[in-house]
């Protein structure tokens, strides 16, 4: 499963959210992560994020795709992060 996570959380919690996401996904831009993830790991990530965020103030959006076959990814301007397997 492919997932894109976008979060908008309070300044105090943003680093925590960032660190949690790094464990599972690749950083693409500020507050945006993407990557291949298993169903179980997605649930784990959701639970971890759930503990961090304050429901009244923060918001996290998960876009899940079964595969990236029908998607197209284009970048304008800088390429900030990504998922290179060869570094």
């Amino acid at each position: 499963m492919f997932v894109i996570v976008v979060y908008d959380v309070g300044e105090k919690r943003v680093v925590k959210a960032l660190k949690r996401c790094r464990k599972y996904l690749n950083w693409v831009q500020n507050s945006v992560f993407e990557g291949e993830i298993s169903e179980a790991n997605l649930t784990k990530l959701k639970m971890e994020l759930d503990k961090i965020i304050v429901p009244d103030e923060d918001s996290v959006i998960f876009y899940t795709l079964r595969s990236t076959r029908y998607s197209d990814r284009q970048i304008m301007g800088l390429r900030k992060g990504g998922q290179d397997l060869i570094i």
């Binding site: 660190k19 790094r22 464990k23 599972y24 996904l25 690749n26 950083w27 990557g35 291949e36 993830i37 790991n41 784990k44 397997l85 060869i86 570094i87």
Partner: protein, 331 residues
């Protein structure tokens, strides 16, 4: 499927915020998701500390090291998490019993020979003149079943490879990559360098797959178990070398992705430069990810997974559930 990470840059690997952190010499930082990593292949000059290795062990991440020349130098093989005394006994039993050891070794050689044949047939259908080599190999293949000595078996395997490699020049038809006989440690020409480099990656890939099963990589059947190395991965790799490494080499040469300029003379032999290694690894990784429809399963299966299935078949064989038959590619 968890991913393989190839590190060519120099720098340091650390555990940071419960994930993998890599910083290169220029200070460029990168976080790698642990949960999506199965193995690391380290080619660059990388600093590692104990904390990081402990973390790898905990996360069951296997780390392969290659030296400056691209040779396999070793593996950080974390504490086994699939422990099975039963399986080790079975493996040892099959090894100690000469009859069963030879029959397994024969299977590996047969598998390798048949996959070699398939590769040659593929090119024969594309009007390459490899008929003679094909015939020689078929003849030698008939001898495999009659042998009951491991060293003779390895000899036959060597002869098959010899004829096979003779077909290489005909297949790619480029003077830059003439074969001129197999040479190792160090390889003397471009073709040999490519073969050696590809083989060492496949060996470690199979080793990583073995880690995910109950099998012990130290007990091999065709390759003798000795005091030093892992040998089961060498056995299984025999089957996959022709369809993975050699075909990748033909692709790289055919599409001119690699040229004479990607090699350098070093320590009495010829080595791949970093850029050449990257291109090779990228292509091999793509090949490993490629899926084919598996006849038994009926679903698409990647070559990497196919390696694991091969190990499962071996496990079943050792447990006496079904007789091991090597994977032979179709198409």
């Amino acid at each position: 499927m968890k991913k393989t990470l190839y590190i060519f840059s120099n720098g340091q690997l650390r555990r940071k915020d419960n994930t993998i952190f890599f910083m290169n010499e220029e200070g460029e930082q990168k976080y790698i998701p642990v949960e999506d990593t199965a193995e690391l292949m380290v080619f660059g000059e990388v600093d590692i500390n104990k904390r990081f290795l402990e973390f790898c062990s905990q996360q069951e991440i296997i780390v392969h090291y290659f030296n400056n020349y691209g040779y396999y130098s070793g593996t950080f093989y974390p504490r086994e998490h699939y422990n099975s005394g039963y399986m080790i006994l079975r493996q040892a039993e099959a090894y100690l019993n000469m009859e069963s050891r030879v029959s397994l070794a024969q299977k590996f050689v047969t598998g390798a020979a048949q996959n070699i044949r398939q590769v040659l047939k593929y090119y024969q259908n594309r009007d390459k003149e490899v008929g003679r080599q094909l015939q020689e190999i078929e003849e030698l293949s008939t001898k495999i079943k009659e042998t009951c000595d491991i060293s003779v078996l390895m000899g036959i395997e060597g002869n098959i490879r010899e004829y096979y490699y003779k077909a290489f020049d005909v297949i790619h038809g480029q003077s830059e990559f003439v074969f001129e006989g197999r040479s190792k440690r160090p390889p003397q020409n471009a073709m040999n360098t490519l073969i050696s480099f590809g083989n060492s990656i496949v060996y470690s890939t199979v080793l990583s797959e073995i880690y995910k099963t109950h099998l012990d990589p130290r007990i091999g059947y065709l390759h003798a178990t000795n005091f030093r190395r892992f040998s089961l991965n060498l056995d299984i790799a025999e089957i996959f070398k022709p369809i993975l490494v050699d075909r990748v080499i033909f692709t790289l040469i055919g599409k001119k992705m690699i040229s004479k300029r990607d090699f350098k003379k070093d320590s009495g032999g010829l080595m791949l430069k970093e850029n050449g290694r990257r291109v090779f690894v990228e292509e091999l990784e793509n090949r490993l990810k490629t899926t084919i429809t598996h006849r038994g399963i009926g679903n698409p299966v990647s070559y990497r997974r196919l390696m694991r299935l091969e190990l499962y078949k071996l496990e079943k064989h050792l447990m006496g559930e079904s007789v091991y038959e090597p994977f032979v590619t179709q198409w």
